[in-house]
Assembly symmetry: C2
Homo-oligomer: 249 residues x 2
DNA sequence: ATCAAGCATTAACGCAGGTTGGTGCACAGC
DNA sequence: GCTGTGCACCAACCTGCGTTAATGCTTGAT
């Protein structure tokens, strides 16, 4: 099973061979997107549903005066909203951060999938619920946590999410973010992100260099940031893997 | 049509008499909830879908050290997540702010509705997409806007949302929030919310007293806060009403 | 080899907003 | 009538983070 969406859904439920094939067959229209290139821009008419197959991407909104806020990250396997085609226009943009591969699923195909495969539909719904839960946790993050907690919390989340699609290497993962992008994610200035990263490094909690994040002490990072993974709702099969990881630290 | 959910959905599409009846028939299990009382608590097993019929409520998350962040408001007509029953446990709480009436829709009823009435299903999907868009805008709000902009933006949003269910009186609406709750919503201290409200009053932009918000100058409030109502996706029928309102200011 | 662009880093300074610790008012309970 | 409680409001002080402006490193284009 090569498709990261299927790897992700497998955390929620077993899928039949037929369902797996149905998903794979839907991912035919694949496009390469360069780093820092938009996949969809704010104001565009909504088209099909996008699925990130490889790379790293984000949702972002831009204010009239130029301020930019990244409101979500996409890791491989993430769908950009199963039902966007209901709306007329995008109220935000989606952009690649690293060079990426994006599949576009036609609305009709999505509806057909959801009509024919109830178990698959439930799994897809689960993934959108998780996305929403992540958005809510980001509100908490920016609203309540200080710079250090905020940054730490984001790194914890990203590790868990990469792990859910098998894209971690132990406590490391590929994270091709600039400090400016981190700042736009965390609601901080890039200068302060720099200070904060240094503090996290000084405390031997993480390393972040050359697009690679390594968490040196996951437990401490989680405690520092009041990280509680419940909101990721990965507790179907991943729990065991997590415990194993943690013991090995 | 007495049901605020139906009033809200009417902004998106015309519903047939049969669909209207189907929704009304689903709202039988109605419960009164007192002010500051939880409807569902974090960690609870998920039950049916909740629909706010009257009052005012919120979603919130609490950190281990007691900090609380309100991550969404519910105005009458809002459903608390159509598909929660997919998940095992709530990762956040839902609490009434004012005395409220809440209907509980059994999962089976929801599925039946969505199976039998495609147009209604689209309308319900639309409403959940709007909820997600609001969550994203809240991330932008806490991440990028300063206290004054942030508070102004929230008030603009609330007016638009109350208006969509006919619960405004011109540019006024009932808003039974304490300054502490506003602070927990906006990621500010209650002291600073107080300062900010005074500044908004001084600039003759709003009044807020005795649980009633009045916007004295909507255009100025929108410009101050970079408010762009696109994300509410009300542009199906409400646009005209909005323009009329605005001219009458 | 040179130059420009993008990025991480640093230092100096300033301010928006937090914190602490009040006062006073309205209202409910006794 | 008291008393307690919740809330708006206020003042003094402090700090986390933003702003500005620079430096140097790396990479890629010419």
């Amino acid at each position: 099973m090569n498709n990261p969406l299927l790897r992700k859904l497998a955390n929620f439920t077993e899928l039949s061979a037929e369902e797996i094939k149905a998903v794979e067959d839907s991912c035919t229209d694949v496009r390469e997107v360069g780093a820092r290139e938009d996949v969809i821009a704010q104001g565009d008419r909504t088209g099909g549903v996008k699925l990130l197959l490889e790379g790293f991407a984000c949702r972002y909104k831009t204010l009239e005066d130029g301020r930019r806020q990244i409101v979500a990250y996409f890791v491989p396997g993430d769908l950009c909203d199963l039902r966007v085609f209901i709306l007329k226009r995008m109220d935000h943009s989606i952009g690649a951060i690293a060079p990426s591969k994006v599949a576009t699923l036609a609305p009709d195909n999505v509806l057909k999938l959801m009509h024919n495969y109830p178990a698959l539909t439930r799994a897809l719904w689960w993934s959108t619920l998780v996305e929403e839960a992540i958005a809510r946790e980001w509100i908490v993050n920016v609203g309540q946590r200080n710079a250090l907690e905020r940054t730490a919390h984001l790194f914890c989340e990203l590790l868990y999410r990469f792990r859910a699609v098998g894209l971690n290497e132990g406590l490391s993962c590929t994270l091709p973010l600039t400090q400016v992008e981190l700042a736009e994610t965390l609601g901080l200035s890039s200068v302060h992100v720099n200070r904060t990263l240094q503090e996290l490094r000084r405390q031997k909690l993480i390393t972040l260099d050359g697009g690679k994040l390594t968490i040196q002490n996951l437990k401490a990072l989680e405690e520092l940031s009041f990280f509680n993974p419940d909101y990721l709702h990965q507790d179907y099969k991943a729990d065991k893997a997590k415990d194993v990881e943690r013991e090995s630290v």
